[in-house]
Symmetry: C2
Subunit: 128 residues, 2 copies
């Protein structure tokens, strides 16, 4: 991580390391959540660092319907979004097979899947 930053000619400052550590704590956090984990980092630097990390591809910004959120760019990442209670959870097992995309000439580096539906709790309780 740090190596990648330096390799691209960027400095590994304490602020950047703090943001990376905050990102590692949990996936899809909001700016405010990240700020809570980086008390020493100024607001402007948060924005700039997240921009920088997004540009280098280390971080991805996404919006699952509740405002911008950030997460470390993993090779593949899977979200399950409950349309009843709004809960966003993650799951490991990968139901995606991107091999067919090679036929379109696209070189696949990573993917992100969002599944919308109703979580076990809402299905069980028949909550609307």
């Amino acid at each position: 991580m740090v190596g990648k930053l330096r390799g691209l000619g960027y400095k590994a400052t304490p602020q950047r390391l703090a943001v990376l550590e905050a990102l590692a704590a949990e996936q899809h956090q909001s700016l405010e959540e990240l700020r809570g984990r980086c008390p020493g980092v100024g607001l402007v630097t948060m924005y700039r660092t997240l921009d920088l990390l997004s540009e280098t591809g280390l971080v991805r910004r996404l919006d699952l319907g509740d405002g911008p959120r950030y997460e470390l760019a993993e090779d593949h990442h899977h979200h399950m979004i409950c349309e009843s209670c709004g809960e966003v959870s993650e799951f490991e097992e990968c139901p995606v097979d991107t091999r067919s995309l090679a036929d379109l000439g696209f070189e696949v580096n990573a993917h992100s899947l969002e599944v919308y539906g109703r979580c076990a709790g809402c299905v069980g309780g028949e909550r609307r």
Copy 2:
């Protein structure tokens, strides 16, 4: 569409119909793009309508890294995002099999897949 709105107790106003029509013209549009297609609709109403449509599940807001965008909530939708040139395209063939999620008790209604990599043009031209 209109029926669904009315069924939920909402009125089918010309503004809402205009926004729905604008959404139908193209997927993942920004607010400004949608505004361009709805000259008669005020800015506040745009925001309110998109909120309303998102709540009813007709529309989904997403952020692929370049700010919020909106699209009609299709059952499944697949984006291909080129990390070199930033182009976002869509593809039809579905490389996702969500059947395994039933084991987790999750009831799947729809999904959205984002594939990150390099598009045919960038791979061919070796553009960085």
